[in-house]
Symmetry: C2
Subunit: 115 residues, 2 copies
DNA sequence: TTAATATATTAATATCTATTCATATGTTCA
DNA sequence: TGAACATATGAATAGATATTAATATATTAA
């Protein structure tokens, strides 16, 4: 491998910009964890469901299918990554999308893939 | 588990909307694959680098670090998921972000996580 | 306080994924 | 044509992740 790709000048400049704008490892990993959280079908279903409104676990199970245990695991992952938030209401725990960035990202993706 | 969460009416309505707006399994999996593609540090680094401009493989390696082989594997994953595109130019292959949706999603995420 | 209900956690396993090393393919130029 | 270079691929393995079943915790109401 050498640099003689016939675009040395532009590419070297791009490399420099890329290096100086590159997020830190810490931030890269943080972003990745967020994207990974929404990268599994059962979790994405939960997000899409919650984009329709706040729900308790029982109703999330009803809307998304799957077992209570599995949904609960996925809710945990989503919450740990600040994708969703929860509040207790008596015996129930109500979940909702934690902030608008999430919905925007999902909407762009749906638009992009025509979903 | 039963439905008696004290929010039966609203939740049932939300469940109905969620079910009727829920993307098909096929589309859910397609979205998930896209998100998964951008969910690994080395791949996200490549995307961030290419957001600065088109580059050949050698320069991507220079910008992102890692081995040529690994970068090449990751480029493949990104390309298979239409995150990036490539064109051959002589001995080199030049990669770039495949469309603006990708950059928008990454930008929102950076803004969200303050990266 | 006990029973009933809703949700969360733990541990086990099966599956998936990233990374590495070795090698193959494709391109240019002598 | 063959040598040199740029990129891609295949196979192996180590590590991560999803799913399940069983059980624990938390809340309410009797």
């Amino acid at each position: 491998m050498n640099t003689d790709c016939g675009h040395i000048q532009e590419h070297e400049e791009t490399v420099e910009r890329a290096k100086s704008n590159m997020a830190s490892n810490f931030k890269i990993e943080r972003m990745c964890r967020s994207f990974k959280a929404i990268s599994e079908p059962s979790r994405l279903r939960i997000i899409l469901a919650l984009m329709e409104g706040e729900m308790c676990v029982y109703h999330i199970v009803e809307a998304c299918g799957g077992t209570q245990s599995n949904i609960s695991h996925q809710l945990r992952v989503l919450k740990d990554n600040n994708i969703i938030k929860s509040r207790r209401d008596g015996q129930n725990v109500l979940y909702s999308i934690s902030d608008e960035h999430v919905s925007r990202i999902i909407d762009i993706s749906r638009e992009h893939l025509d979903c």
